[in-house]
C-alpha cells in the first residue's frame, strides 16, 4: 500500500494545471488462485493503479484515465483532459464538481493478514476445501485476496482517502451426474471457512445425484442467498438507477410510495455497511450513505449521481460511477435485510416446489417489468412435504424480479456474500417465494 499521504500528494500533481479539476486515484494489489479438476491451474497476481482526471472548462468536460501513477504521468493526463475539454461542446446537464464540506462516514480499514497474503496461504485454503469433498468428486473454484486504496482530490477542496481488503472463495463440486456450489466473502482472509465451503458444495453433489426432469411451469421456490442476490442485483440495474427513474424507464418511475413487493422485503444501498463495505465517497467525491430503496415492500428511493439527482431535485445519493458515465447513478452495495427463518424452516414451508442454489447467465427480457431470464445450476432440488427429496435437472426461468419478490413468504436469517457473473457483489438472504416461472429445461 502507498497510503494516504503518497496517493493524495500524487493527485495534487493533476491539480497543478489549475482550473476545475477532479483527480480520482486508485491502486489495487490483487491475487486470484483458480482451481479446476481439483488442481490449481491458473494463479495470478496483479499490481495496478489508475488515475482518472476530469477537467471542466466552462461546462465542457474532458476525462483522461491512465495507469502511469508518476508525477509526470498525472500531469500529462491532466493536460490531456484539459485539451479534450477545450474541444468538446458544453454539457448543459453537467452539474459541476462536488463542493467540499461534506462529512464522510467510515469503513473498515485493511486487514493486515489479507494485505500480506502469500500465494502459499491461498493454496492452503484451496487444499482445505478440497479435503472435504466426497470420494470421486472433483472441484473447481477460486480463492482471491485484494487490497484497494482510493483517493479523491479536487480543486473545490475535497481531499479524501480510503483503503480496504477483501477475501472471497468459491467451490464448485462436480460429481458424475450433479454439482454443488458454495461461496463466501469477507473483509479479512481469516473470516473465510474454506473447509466448510468444500463440505457444503460436496453435500449438494450427493443430494443432487441422478437428477430427475421436472416439467416447465410455475413452482413455489426457496432461493439460496446467491440466487436472491441475483434478483436484487437486477433490480439495481433496471429499477433503482436514477436516470432510468427520471426517464420513466424504471419500474419505479412515478411509483415511489407504492407497495411494489411483499412487506417482508427491505432493500438498501449501503457502502458503509460492515457486511459489504465500499468507500465513504463515490467517484464524484459525494459522501456515500445508506439509501433506502424498498422499505417493507414500499418503493421509497432510487440511486442518483449529481446529474440525475439534480434533475430529480433530490441531489446525489452518493451513487456516482466513474466519469464519463452516461448511465447515471447505480447502487453498487445492495443489501436485502435478513429475516428470521432458518433454511430448514424455509424448506419446511414448501408442500411441493423447487430449491435453487444459484442462477446462471441471467439477462433482461423486459426492462420496465423487471423481467429477466436465466438458468439454474449447481444444486437444484425438488422439495416435497417440506423436505428436499432429490436433485432435478436445471431449468430456465423467465420471471419479473418485482413480481417474484411480491410473493415473498419468508426471509432467511443468514445473509452471505454472493458474487455474480458479470455484475459484482451484493448481499441478500435466502427467501421462500410463492411462485417462480420456469419456461424450459435442459439436459442435465
Amino acid at each position: 500500500m502507498w497510503g494516504e499521504d503518497r496517493l493524495t500528494a500524487l493527485a495534487d500533481a493533476a491539480l497543478t494545471i489549475g482550473g476545475d479539476v477532479e483527480a480520482v486515484l486508485s491502486r489495487t494489489d490483487s491475487a486470484l488462485t483458480r482451481f479446476a479438476g481439483s488442481r490449481i491451474h491458473q494463479n495470478t497476481s496483479r499490481l495496478d493503479g489508475e488515475a482518472r482526471i476530469r477537467v471542466v472548462l466552462d461546462g465542457r468536460v474532458g476525462v483522461v484515465a491512465t495507469n502511469d501513477l508518476s508525477y509526470d504521468g498525472l500531469h500529462a493526463a491532466a493536460d490531456k483532459a484539459r485539451e479534450i475539454a477545450a474541444l468538446t461542446p458544453a454539457d448543459p446537464h453537467f452539474p459541476g464538481l462536488t463542493p467540499a464540506g461534506q462529512p464522510y462516514g467510515r469503513t473498515a480499514g485493511p486487514d493486515e493478514e489479507t494485505l500480506g497474503c502469500p500465494p502459499q496461504r491461498r493454496a492452503e485454503l484451496v487444499a482445505a476445501a478440497l479435503a472435504e469433498l466426497p470420494a470421486e468428486v472433483d472441484a473447481a473454484g477460486t480463492m482471491e485476496t485484494s487490497v484497494q486504496e482510493r483517493a479523491i482530490v479536487t480543486s473545490t477542496g475535497i481531499r479524501v482517502y480510503a483503503a480496504g481488503t477483501r477475501a472471497t472463495a468459491s467451490v464448485l463440486a462436480q460429481g458424475a451426474t450433479s454439482s454443488g456450489w458454495a461461496e463466501a466473502g469477507a473483509t479479512a482472509i481469516g473470516g473465510l471457512d474454506c473447509a466448510a465451503l468444500g463440505r457444503r458444495a460436496g453435500e449438494k453433489v450427493l443430494l443432487g445425484a441422478s437428477p430427475r426432469e421436472m416439467p416447465a411451469g410455475s413452482y413455489p421456490v426457496v432461493l439460496e442467498s446467491g440466487a436472491t442476490t441475483n434478483i436484487v442485483q437486477w433490480l439495481g440495474w433496471l429499477a433503482f438507477p436514477g436516470r432510468a427513474y427520471n426517464e420513466e424507464r424504471s419500474a419505479l418511475s412515478g411509483r415511489l410510495g407504492e407497495q411494489v413487493c411483499s412487506p417482508l422485503v427491505t432493500i438498501v444501498d449501503d457502502p458503509l455497511s460492515p457486511l459489504l463495505p465500499g468507500t465513504p465517497f463515490d467517484p464524484e467525491g459525494t459522501a456515500t450513505r445508506r439509501t433506502s430503496l424498498i422499505e417493507a415492500g414500499v418503493a421509497v428511493g432510487v440511486a442518483h449521481d449529481r446529474a440525475t439527482g439534480a434533475v430529480a431535485g433530490t441531489g446525489s445519493t452518493g451513487n456516482a460511477m466513474p466519469a464519463p458515465n452516461s448511465m447515471g447513478g447505480l447502487p453498487t452495495h445492495l443489501l436485502m435485510n435478513a429475516g428470521g427463518a432458518t433454511m430448514d424452516e424455509l424448506v419446511a414451508g414448501l408442500d411441493r416446489g423447487l430449491y435453487v442454489t444459484r442462477f446462471h447467465y441471467t439477462n433482461v427480457v423486459h426492462p420496465v417489468s423487471t423481467s429477466i431470464t436465466g438458468m439454474t445450476r449447481d444444486g437444484t432440488f425438488l422439495v416435497e412435504d417440506g423436505r428436499i427429496v432429490g436433485g432435478v435437472r436445471n431449468l430456465r426461468f423467465t420471471q419479473s424480479c418485482l413480481a417474484a419478490l411480491a410473493g415473498c413468504e419468508a426471509v432467511g436469517a443468514d445473509v452471505e456474500l454472493a458474487t455474480d457473473l458479470f455484475y459484482g457483489a451484493a448481499l441478500a438472504p435466502a427467501v421462500r417465494l410463492s411462485s417462480f416461472t420456469f419456461t424450459s429445461t435442459t439436459a442435465y
Binding site: L32, S45, G141, E248, Y361, G374, T439, S440, T442
Partner: protein, 444 residues
Amino acid sequence: MEGVSRGSSSGVGIRAVYDGAWGFAATNDPSPDAVRRAAQQAVEVARASARVRGRDDQRAVLDERRASTGTYTTPHERDPLEVPLSEKVDHLLAATTAARDAADVSFVEASTDAWRITTSYRDSAGGSVDQRVLQVGGGLVAYAVGGGEVQRRSFPNSFGGQYETGGWERVLLLDLAGCAPDTARDAVALLDAPDLPYREDAVLLLESSQLALQIHESVGHAVELDRILGSEAAYAGTSWVSATDRGSLRYGSPLMTVIADATTPHAMGTFGYDDEGVPAGQAAIVTDGVLTGYLTDRQSAAQLGEQSNGTARADSWGAIPLIRMNNVSLQPKEGDRASIVADTDDGVLFLTNRSWSIDDRRLNFQFGCEVAYEIRGGQLGRMYRNPTYAGRTPDFWGSCDALGGQSDWKVWGVPNCGKGQPSQTARVAHGAPTGRFRATVGVR
C-alpha cells in the same frame, strides 16, 4: 456531448512454469527492478500452484513448436486515435440530429470507440513478436419510451454498433447519419407494435447480426478446448461438446460449416499473432454439420497431441492468455435475406440482438431481439416488439435449412465477450448470412 474520454494502460505480465505448474504476476511499473520483482513473484506463485495438483497429478505441457519471431500492424488508412476530436464530435452529432429530425424519439445515443493495442511478446524459448492492433467501432441507438415500454433500435448493431480492425475510415463507411432516420422511425413504431405471440416449433429467420451472436454463444464458446477440459467450470461453465467428439458429433444440419479465421480482413478478431506468439491462422470447427475442430492454445492442444491453432489471448498486460474466439464464422451458402423470406410461407424474421442467455454447457439458450417481422406467404408482414426465441443448441442448428450467400454474409464485431477469473473482456467477431431455423418464439 455526454462523455469524451481517453485512457491508457501499460505494464508487464510474466507467466512462469515451475515443476509443471503455472504462476503469473503483472505490474504497471515498467522499471527493471519492478519487472524483476514481478518475475520472481510469478515463480513464487507457480511454486504455490504446484502444491495442489489434483488426483491425476497433471502437469502443464506445451505443444512442440519453433519459437515465433515477427511483427504485425493492422492495415489502416487513418489511425483512429490521431483523428481530431472535433471531427469525431461532428460525426456523432450529425447522426443524432438526423435521428431526432426524423421521428419523435425519447433520446438518441451515438458513440465511437477506438483502441490501439501495442504488444511486445518475448519467451524463454526465443519467441519475439511485436504487434500493433487497431480496433474501431461506432453506432447509433434511438430510444422510444412510453406506455410502460422502452423500445430501441440500434444501427448497425447493438452493443454500440459495428466494431472492426482498421482505421477511422471503417467508421465513416457505416454512414451513421444516413441511416439514422430509419433507425429512429423504427424505434417509435415499436411502441405501438404488438408483442410477438408464443409459439412452439416456429420457423424463424435470423438476420446476420443476430445469427452472429447465436454462433458466439452456441458454437464459439462451446468449442473452446480449455472450457471443454474444465478450466472454466466454476465461472461460465463447461460445454456439451467433449474432447473426443471431433469427427463424430453432428453439430447441425449439413448446411453448417464454421471456420475460425484470425486473418479475415477488417474483422474485429483479426491479429498477427496470439498472446503465446502463435501466428494467426485458420481452423475448421464444423464441416458440413459435423464437429471437426476446437479452438486451442498451446497447453490444451498438447493434451490432444496437436499444435495450437493460435487463439490464446489476454485482454491486457495484466491478464493471462485464455482461449478466445477470433473470427468464428458460419460460411455462406446461396441467396440472401429477400430470397429466404420469399421462400418462407409462415415464419418470423428476427433483427438485432437485445438480450442473450445460455446454460453452463451451452445447450439451452434464449435470445431477445429489438424487432421481429411476421412472414406470411413469402412476404414480410406486421412488426412485433419484445421478440424472443429459445431452443437447444443441437436441435436448433440441426433445423437449419437455409443460409444466405456471399452477398448476404457480413462479419460482426462482438466487443464484450467475457471469460475467466479475474474476468477478461475480449473483442471478437463472427461472419454470418441470414439463416432459417426452428425454435420456440415469444417466451416471456
